[in-house]
Structure formats: C-alpha cells, structure tokens
Symmetry: C2
Subunit: 733 residues, 2 copies
C-alpha cells in the first residue's frame, strides 16, 4: 500500500515536468523566500536578521519560448509582476490574461518586473505551457538600431527556468505558506501568579489565546525547558500584547513587538511562530483569557525512510532524530527552531544527508543550496564561515549522487564557479586557505582551546574535497576546461596535505601549521575527514583510529555536529560496535535528560541547568537542532548500509552491518522508489524498487541466496548483484 | 534680489548637512527610484522596460553611529522597513518609535530589512540625528561565539550614509513623487469623428477627462506632432479606457493597458504620464466627456543659469534648449520624454554638462550616476554600450570639477573600480577595446555607414580618457596604489593612439584599425574628442580642423548628440563664428520646422513627415531629447566662456568670446553662488559671488580695468585675476 502511494506520487511528479507550473529565474524564489524565513528570528521581542549579505531576486526577468503550433491557440497567463508580451519581437497591448498565439513557428517572450517578490509566470494553453523548457534571463540585451534592426543577442546568458511545484494559476509562489494544524496543551498549572502551559514535547507554532478581553497587557514567555519559560528575564523568546478598548464594544489587540493591531476575535493568534515546549503567561489584572492552545506549523513531509531494530533505545533515538528533522525542515533546512531559524551551510549539509534517508525531499535541498549561495558578487564566505563555504560545494555533489539531477548541477554551476573564484582569491603562497580578517574559521564549538591561526589541516582537507567537487560538477555541467583546471588544482593541493600535516610522532594529522611549521596539537577534525575522504593509506587510517579517534586524551567532541563526522569516520573504519555504544551513550544520554528533540550541544558531564546554557546565556542553547539528528543518517548509510554508487541510485551499494544489534530493518528512499532491507544474524532480505547494486556482506560459512549468484571476495566477504524488483534473501553466518 | 534668494537657499542646504534627514545605503534609493522611473516607458499600451540588468537595493542594511551624550536623550525614529535597535551590541525590544539613549559613549545600530523599497531611517533627537555622519553596511559580519564574545568586524565594509533632502519624518524617500500642476489646452477641434486637442507646445503629464460617463471605450492617441496624434495605427503611445456600469448608479473606469479599475469621479486622470503636444480622442457613441485638460508633471528646478544676446534667434535657441532640459530633467536625467524615458549614459553626460550651466541640480546628477552604474557584478557595458561605459567615467570627474564634492567620489569610487575591471577584462592583445559579442558599439546614429569592427579610434580615445579619470578619482578617493596603476595604464594607451590611428595621408585619425591595419575611412568622432582632450599637437589640431571638422566630404553628423562634441571641438579651436552659424542653421532649422523642444536627430535635407521617422517607424523619433539642448552648454562654457579650473569653482576660468554676436550677458551658477558676465565689443563686466579666477580676453589696444591688474599674455591676449565679489569692468577693443 505504501509503495503504491509512492508510485502514484512520483508518476504525478514526472507528469508535472511537462505540465504548466509557475516558473522563475533559478534561485530567485529561493532567495526571496529565504529572506522571509531567515527574518523570522527574534530575540526577546527584537527582530534579528542575519549578519551576512541578504540578496535579492532579479527584479526584471524575461521568459522566452520558441513555439511551433499546428493551429492557433489561446493561452491563459498569470504573472507575479508587471509584464509585457512580445510575439516575434513585437510588443502586444497591455497585460492580457488571455492571448491567442497564431499557428506556425514563433518566438514568445514575457518580460516581468517585480521588486517586492520574484518575477514569475504561469502559462496554460493546450500545448503551450510554462515549464522547464522555457528560458530565462535577467538581461536580454535586445536593442534595435536606428533602422529598426534588432541586435545580435547571441551573448545573452539564458538559463533554464526553475520551478517548484506551484501548479495552479491561483497559487503563485509568493503566496506560499507552511500549513498549520491545531495542537493542544497536555497540562496547565498556576505558577507564581502566572500560568505554565506544557505542550508535552518540543514543538513549533503560533500560540492562541481564547476569549481574550478586558484591558491590559499579557506577557508570554516561551521555553524549550520549564526553567526557560519561567525565567522572565532570560528566556530567549517572548511576546507581549496589549488589549485595549477602542470603543465601548470593540476591543483591539496590539502586538507590542511588531506594533500590529487587530480587532479582537474569539481566538487571538500570535503573529509570529515560536519554538517551545512550555509557555508561561502573566497578565495584568484587568485582562483575561479562557484557554491557551497553539497552531502547529510544519512542512508536510512524507517519512519515506524508516529504521527499526531489536534495541528500543536505538529505535527511540531514531524516532527523536526523525522528529528533530521534521521540526527543523521548513521552507528550508534550518539549524534550530528556537533561536537562529537560519540556514547555515554546515548544518544544512547534515540535514540534506539525513533527509536522503528520511524524507528524500529534494526540493528543500535545492532551495537551501540556492539560498545559501545567494547572488554574486561573493563578499564573504558562506554564512561568513570558511568551512561552511566548503560544505556548500560538497553538498552540491552529494545532491547529484543521491538524486541524479544533472539539470540542477548545470543551473547552479555558474555560482559554484564564482564562489570558488572567491576562495582561490584568498589562498596564501602555498595555495592553502588561512583565516583572513572577516573570515570566521569555525570548525566546531569545543569545550577546549581550538587554534584558528595559520593553515588548519581541517580547512585544507575540506578545500581539497571542494576542488575535487568542482572538477566533478564541471564534468556534469559539460565544462571540460574547468574540469581539467580543477582536477589539477585538487591534485596539487592533495599532494601537499600529507607532507604538510602528517606527524610521524603523533601518527596523525596535526591541527595546523603556522608560517610553514607544524604545530604540535592534534585534534579529531581533519583526521576524521581524511579517513572518509580516503586521503590516507590503510596504515595511516589504522594509526589514526588508535592515535586519535579512540584516544580519550584528544580533545573530545561535544557537539552532535562533529559527532556526525566522528561516527561516520568510525563506521568507515568498520567500528560499528563502538558507534552503537556511542549512540546509546550520547544520544541516549540526551534522552535520559528528557530530550524530546536533539540538542545543539551536549556535554554528558554537565549537570541540570548547565545543559541549557550556551553563548554566555542561561538558555542560549538550542534544544532542537538539526545537526542533533545524525543517527538517522548513520543508521541508514552505515547500518542498513545503503548508498548511491552512481547518480540517483542507478547503482547502489548495500553493505549492511548490525553493529552489535540482533536484527534491524528499514527502508531507504531513492528518487523513484526505495530499497528495503532486513538483517539478522543469519539472514539478509533486500528488495529494491529501482536501480541495481551489490549487496556486500561478511559470512563465516558459504552463504546462500534465493536468487542470483553470490561472488566471493577477499577474506570472508561476499557480494551478490541485486537487479530487478524482487526480494532477494541471503542466508549467511 | 535673485542673489539673496540663492544665498538663503544655499545656507539652508548647508545647515541640512547637520540636520536630521532620511539616510540610506549609497546608491540604493537611486537604483530603486530609477527602476520606478525607467519602467514607466510604454509603447502603444505595452509596458517597456529596458534590456540591460535591472538592479535592486540591498534589502538588509545596518546604520550605525558612535554617540557621546552629556545627558540622556530621547530620539524619535522613523524607518522604512522592519527594524531592530542595538545599543552597545544589545538588541532592544520591538520596533519603537521613541527610544531613550543613556548618557555617555555608546554605539547605536539600527538594522533594517525592506525588500520592496530601500531600507532608510530618520532619527531625530536633541543632538543625535540621522545625517551623513552615520555609517552603513550591507553585511556587518558581527557574530558571537559560543561564549558570547562578539567577532572582530574590522573587515566589515562601512560606507558613509547617503541622503537626498528628505528632511521630515513624514516624507520618507519611497513616497517621493514629482509634483504636478494643471495645464489647459490651447485648442480643440473635431477631426474625422474624433477630437484633436493641442496643448500649444511639447509637454508631459497626465491627461484628464472631465465628466466621463456612459458606457463604452475611449481611445487616446498621443502625438508630439499632429501627424502622430492622428495616426491611430502608428502613434507611439496611446491609452484605452473602458467606462462601465457596475450598478445603476456607479460607474467604473478601467485602464485597459494596466487593468486598473477605479470608480468614476468628476475628473478622471489617466494613470500614466505621457509626452505629447497633441492628443486625439475617439470614443464609442455610448460614452461622453465634457472637457480635456492635463496635469503637467515636472521636476521643480531653479533656473540659475541664463543667457541673452543681441540675436533673437540665438536667444530662442537657448530658451527652447532650457525648456528641453526642463522636460527631460526628472527624477533622473532621461533621454527623451516620449519614448525611452530611460537614463542613458551618453545622453546623461550631456545633460549633466548643460545642467551645470542651467539648474546646477547636483542631486539629479548624482542620482543618475548611481543609477547608471547599478550594482556589482558588472554583466555588460553601461546600457550595454561600450562608449557609454566610458562616458560614465568621464561624468564622475566632471561632477567633481563642477561641484568639488569629494565625498561623492569617495562613495562611488568602489563602483568605478569594478566597472573599470570589467573593461580591462575585455581588452585585446594591444590593450585596446574592440566590440565583443553582446557589446553595443554605438558611436552615433549616422546617415551613412559606420564601421563598428576592430579597434575604433573613437573608443580608444574615450577609453584613454577614462583611464585618466580613474587616476584622478583614485587620488580624490585617497587610493594611491590605484592612482599609480591607472596613471601608468593611461600613459601606455595614450602613447599608442597616434602611432595606431594617425594617418599622414589623411592628416587625421582614421576611424578604425582591423587586425592592426589602419582602415582608410576618416570620421569626425575621434578627431573631435582628440582635439578637446588635448591629445594632439597644435599642428595636428589645425590639420584636423581643415581635413575633418570643416571638410564637407567627411560623413556629416545629423544628431545634436554628436553636434555637441563637434561644436565643442570647433570652440576649442577658437572657431566660434563657425559655431554661431552652425547653431543658427541647425538648431534654428529645427525651430523653423516648428520645434518647441529639440529633437533626437535632425537632418536639414529631410522633408515634412520625414522629420518624424526613426527606427523604421513613422513617429519613432523623439522630438524632445535632452541631447538636443547643447547650445545651453556651448553658450555658457565657450561664449560666456566660464568653467571651473579647480574643483567646485574654487578657481574658475572666464574666457568670453562673442563669436560674432554684438553683445551677450549671462549667469553661470557655481556651488554656492554664481558668476555674472556681460560682454559687448568694447566692454566686459564680470562679477563672481564665490571663487577666484582669471578673465582672459583678446584686445587690439591696451585694455583697462575698473579694479585689479591686467597682465599681457602672448599676442593680443590679456588676463586679469578676479577676486572678491565686486563687479570688475574691463574696457577693451
């Protein structure tokens, strides 16, 4: 049943590629919508936009299409903006909602101006429809000379138009809103003259007050924890409204933060969404309300991936991880729902990877990639963070591998070029990156000193992988000159990494080099990445496992963010059992502290309210942070062991590993289908609705398969090619 | 009396520099307003935006100010956009309209988001006021680390804030509208079942219909000529409205081009302004109106410059030139009022120069310079035209010379750099510019073949002057590295010009070189510019005068645009009498054809309606085109002979030349005052209210002065230093 639903859904999506849809200039709607979303952050009633450049859509865009009609055809036209229509270069009167195209070959252009929201069009005719076959440009360069002759526009840069599932004339992109649904509190109690309301778990949305009347102020203090909600002085978010009588019979309600006033109705809904589990409400004596509830605001996601095993704690970790992802997946993948509510590249790449094993929501991945990249000129690193620039590159190729969407790579490639030009303009004489004034060298939030000076091995490893990504994407984009150029740059840098950073004393990559001299400190970061980027010899990898990864004297990682990569490195080294233990300790630890979603940072040695503090503020920490949800990814990619080998899962790898569990089962979504896998200590069942790939596993004795031929590899390793959509059952020991 | 008025006006303007005013990011309001204006072009009821990139303001801007208060102070805050206030890095609740600043030293930041119109603020306190001392940035890069420590923002690029005379909280920049005043027709007559209305001269504004009622359509055809208004099929602009009954008593009027519907009132005003002298109105039988009038829309300008002489035709030419300038000076200096209504760099530089001798409206010069430059990245030449890019550079330095406003040069310099980087990225192996695909090499509209291939001498001359301008502006902006760099590039190119283009056979610069080989054609363009840029020896200049400028076999110039430079070159060679004759022939010729404003192009050999045609359209030509008004400039700069020698007229030159006139008198405005000059064949009277400068003149006998000392120069030339504000009278013969 579930399968059928997916097939219907995806057939519908395929159809849409040839059906009319709202179209716009690639990235423009995403940047505009991103501004709307990023600007919803507040801090104690203050509007809190981000500190990097906020871009704008192109305000004037031309949409064009070559048509060839057997018969005249009437088209319906809906436009966001002021527009004109040109047929074969001739401007037509006014801004018609219907227009008849003559038979034959013609060029049709619609040019739209819109400062406030992105220029977008929707065209619907019998055969002529706005879709991905239309071209767009922000500068058509078409002029006519004195004699009326039109210019040569061969240098005009046209892009394929972009769209995003707005398939009705009546649902233009700028009207997009996340849906809401009512949600009730699980308890209300009087505390210190106010009322504390508990919604039972971390949630997100708009508080509603029923029967609000009288005269006076109502204060609403939000908390991800009870402590935060009750702390009127230090809670991170709050609302304050004033109820006033404008006349004997009409009550007016003003939001004091936004100065918006509305007439009172039976239910007053706060005008900005917040993240919380608790709200604490105090009010003046002259004002009253009868009930408090909320509208839960969410991105409708289809949870296509799943994971279950014999260990209930792991199952709970997976579930809370999935819920954390649901809350942080919105118009875009954001970091945390209480505080930043912004898109951050380092956070986003992890969300994308988790998403591929959970929702497989490719639109939101693309939206976030566009938004994070923004417009040219590049004036700072992505989110101002050097490492985040590199993660942005990596995320583009990941997207291609999971989805096979080469069209997107072609569209975004020009912005990859300009971002890489920015990076290359900031390298030192060794061709390496060092933090320059205004660059934020982030690495991680660490409970210990992290040197950010000189050439960090971590940054060079990411830079090298980014150059490799440029070469790969240049190839997908059909730019062979760039491919060769970036292959060479990547090879140059890669050849320098080990000589520059490997320490035979430490048997590891050192943290950094200053003025060409290795510093003695070793940290986990570059070592982890070098392992799963495969930048090391087998021997070096094994050395790192002991000298760094399993060495407690190396500065510990206390963010789920870097745990993500740390555990990925351990998985890449086959240390699944250690990873299972870490998951149960670390994520299980958060659950034991009462987490209903995963946190921004967790130090098991913290006590009580220490868990809530960060950034020098008692409740500064986000208790629902996307990067907290990594088990969703690890369990899919390294336990079920499924990942794409060729773009879009046309070939996949399945290398399941129980990691000490008795059994596990799960589903990994693919672009048009899914791969189901069950494994216990004797049996593997796999069923792939698309693609083909090897199931690789270890067996002490000779395994058997219900179908196909098992090949023996080195040692105890075996593999069998899974083709077709039938379930294959393998017995092993 | 007139003088007193100016002094009061300018004192008020000086005061404003220290008074509160709306402030914004430099160039942003100008770009936004420019889009509004450029997008008012229509062609036969179709919206007609331009074909180059339309930029946007920065949508998120931070305004900051370091304050030091003796006592606490309440400020009033008006903002265009959603905003926050930070005091010493701490966000304040909400978006307050009043805020109390504590005594002492503090940093005050206001961060504003506005997608639809430019972020702008107005702050008014006893001592704290929004003014030019505030800094602005689009990317403050201020982040806090895990511990709450704020980042080093020393790499943040702050700019001085910009303003433009919006000095009341209640008049925000985005609400700016040009004023209107009622204007009546001079005649109405029935023609072919419709009505032809004549407003007596070229004008601009909104047609009004009085007593519009009934049911049916009304068509309004606009014409700069009677022929155009009466030609329903080919007139360039038109309106069509539908009057309908929504109910028995309420009439609704719809503009069919814009789809806007309004309830009928006694007077219906068309919603888009048009340029015309005539309108021709036809209507359905069921609809009626009682009267037609208009609202004249204009930029209020103070006509500070003047010119009068004994020749009435020259006086009429000056008056019609001034009126042409009044019509084309709007939010920005536009080309023509009927058709493009756009800012074009080559047109604008001439408007600026005329303006310095007429209105001395420096705000509109700056606005137009900002708009033409737009935002980075540069994706094409200015208006897509190579020559127009160069004129843009030249106009910036002109502005500095006439106004002395070094603050503006400092503000705009970064955009000069990026535009020059674009040009330098498109030079050939000789370091010269050649048209590449997508570049429009314009030169001029010519009634003959103009080769646009290879290295045009005209483009290299402009390029060379642009490099010199970069060096000069780098110096003003305090960028010594750039100054040296551009001085070197300019010198390199200049050294190549004569060897590359001078032909000893033709005694002139040839038109172009292809693959390093001189082509035989000679045109006027580069020769004219090389004369007044002083790129030639005296001998070469004299050769050019005869071989090109006064040589009828060289392709004639038929646009007032290039006549501007042609006559400037003749003036620079002292050929004023020839220029006087040309003015009377050419501009006088337009007047004799009935011109009430000057035209885009005029070929004296055209007959009748041929004068109206251009671009392959019968009424394509603009009959009110800014570049038509050049006598206003020539008479001020080369007849009254007054121009700045040092920035802002701190030193001026006065070298009057009657050019065959019996007497002349006039006023040339300066930043804070004016220079008045009268001259007849025996007497020169001069009075400068600011600055000092030499009056230079020719006299056969020894001249006498009422004040000061006359020095003798070479030949019959004399000069006298004019200092102080008293009138000086010189007798000469």
């Amino acid at each position: 049943m579930k399968n059928t639903l997916f097939l219907i859904l995806f057939s519908a999506m395929s159809l849409m590629l040839n059906a009319q849809t709202w179209i716009w200039y690639p990235g423009d709607y995403e940047i505009w919508l991103g501004n709307e979303m990023n600007n919803r952050r507040t801090e104690r009633g203050a509007f809190f936009p981000h500190f990097w450049k906020m871009d704008s859509h192109y305000v004037l865009v031309e949409f064009s299409k070559q048509i060839d009609l057997a018969a005249p055809e009437e088209i319906e036209i809906a436009v966001e903006g002021k527009f004109n229509i040109k047929l074969d270069g001739k401007l037509q009167f006014g801004m018609p909602q219907k227009f008849t195209l003559p038979a034959g070959k013609h060029s049709l252009n619609i040019k739209v101006w819109n400062q406030a929201t992105p220029p977008a069009i929707f065209v619907h005719g019998k055969t002529v429809k706005s879709d991905g076959s239309w071209k767009v440009t922000y500068e058509d360069k078409e002029w006519i000379d004195e004699s009326g002759k039109a210019s040569d526009t061969s240098a005009t840069v046209y892009m394929p138009s972009a769209s995003g599932g707005f398939n009705l004339a009546t649902t233009p992109p700028s009207a997009y809103k996340l849906p809401v649904k009512p949600q009730q509190a699980v308890s209300r109690e009087s505390v210190l003259g106010g009322e504390l309301i508990d919604f039972g778990k971390e949630t997100f949305g708009y508080i509603q007050l029923k029967g609000l009347s009288g005269v006076g102020k109502v204060n609403i203090y939000y908390g991800e924890s009870k402590e935060e909600a009750l702390d009127k002085e230090f809670c991170e978010t709050l609302d304050c409204i004033t109820v006033a009588n404008s006349a004997a019979t009409n009550s007016l309600i003003t939001n004091n933060a936004t100065n918006e006033t509305v007439p009172a109705t039976d239910i007053y809904t706060l005008n900005s969404s917040k993240a919380f589990r608790y709200v604490y409400i105090t009010k003046d004596a002259g004002v009253k309300y009868s009930d408090v509830s909320m509208l839960f605001e969410y991105k409708p996601e289809n949870q296509r991936g799943s994971f279950r095993c014999n260990d209930d704690e792991i199952n709970r970790i997976w579930d809370v991880g999935a819920y954390t992802m649901l809350l942080t997946t919105r118009e875009f993948f954001i970091d945390g729902i209480k505080r930043d509510r912004w898109t951050w590249s380092g956070d986003a790449i992890q969300s994308y990877l988790m998403n591929y094993y959970l929702f497989f929501d490719t639109e939101t991945v693309k939206n976030t990639i566009w938004l994070l990249r923004g417009k040219d000129p590049v004036t700072s690193h992505t989110n101002t963070i050097m490492d985040y620039t590199f993660y942005w590159f990596l995320s583009v190729y990941d997207y291609y591998m999971f989805t096979g969407d080469s069209r997107f790579i072609q569209m975004v490639y020009p912005r990859m070029q300009s971002l890489m030009d920015y990076v290359l303009g900031r390298t030192n004489k060794n061709g390496m990156v060092e933090g320059m004034t205004g660059d934020w060298v982030f690495v991680d939030w660490a409970d210990g000193y992290l040197d950010k000076h000189g050439e960090l091995s971590y940054e060079q490893v990411l830079f090298c992988k980014s150059l490799e990504t440029m070469a790969l994407c240049a190839k997908v984009a059909g730019n062979d000159v760039d491919r060769v150029k970036y292959e060479r740059s990547a090879a140059d840098l890669r050849a320098k990494l080990i000589p520059a950073f490997w320490s035979e004393t430490s048997k590891a990559l050192v943290h950094n080099r200053i003025d060409g001299i290795q510093r003695p400190d070793v940290t986990r970061y570059s070592n982890m990445f070098a392992v799963f980027f495969n930048y090391l010899t087998l021997e070096q990898k094994q050395q790192i496992k002991h000298s760094v990864l399993l060495n407690d004297s190396i500065l510990k990682i206390t963010t789920p963010y870097m745990r993500f990569y740390e555990l990925e490195a351990l998985c890449a080294l086959g240390e699944h059992k250690a990873v299972t233990k870490e998951m149960k300790d670390y994520w299980g630890g958060m659950l034991r502290e009462g987490a209903t979603s995963f946190w921004e940072k967790y130090n098991p040695s913290d006590k009580g309210a220490e868990h809530l503090a960060m950034y020098g503020r008692p409740y500064g920490k986000s208790l629902c942070h996307a990067w907290g949800a990594s088990p969703v990814y690890l369990l899919g990619k390294y336990y079920l062991g499924i990942q794409p080998v060729k773009p879009g899962y046309s070939e996949f790898a399945a290398e399941p590993n129980l990691g000490g569990l008795k059994w596990m089962e799960g589903v990994v979504p693919t672009p048009q289908g899914e791969i189901k896998l069950y494994m216990n200590e004797k049996l593997i069942r796999i069923k792939a609705s698309e693609g083909k790939g090897y199931l690789t596993f270890v067996s002490k004795s000779k395994p058997k398969a219900s179908k196909g031929t098992i090949e023996k590899l080195d040692g105890n390793k075996y593999r069998i090619l899974i083709t077709g959509t039938d379930e294959v059952v393998v017995s092993y020991k």
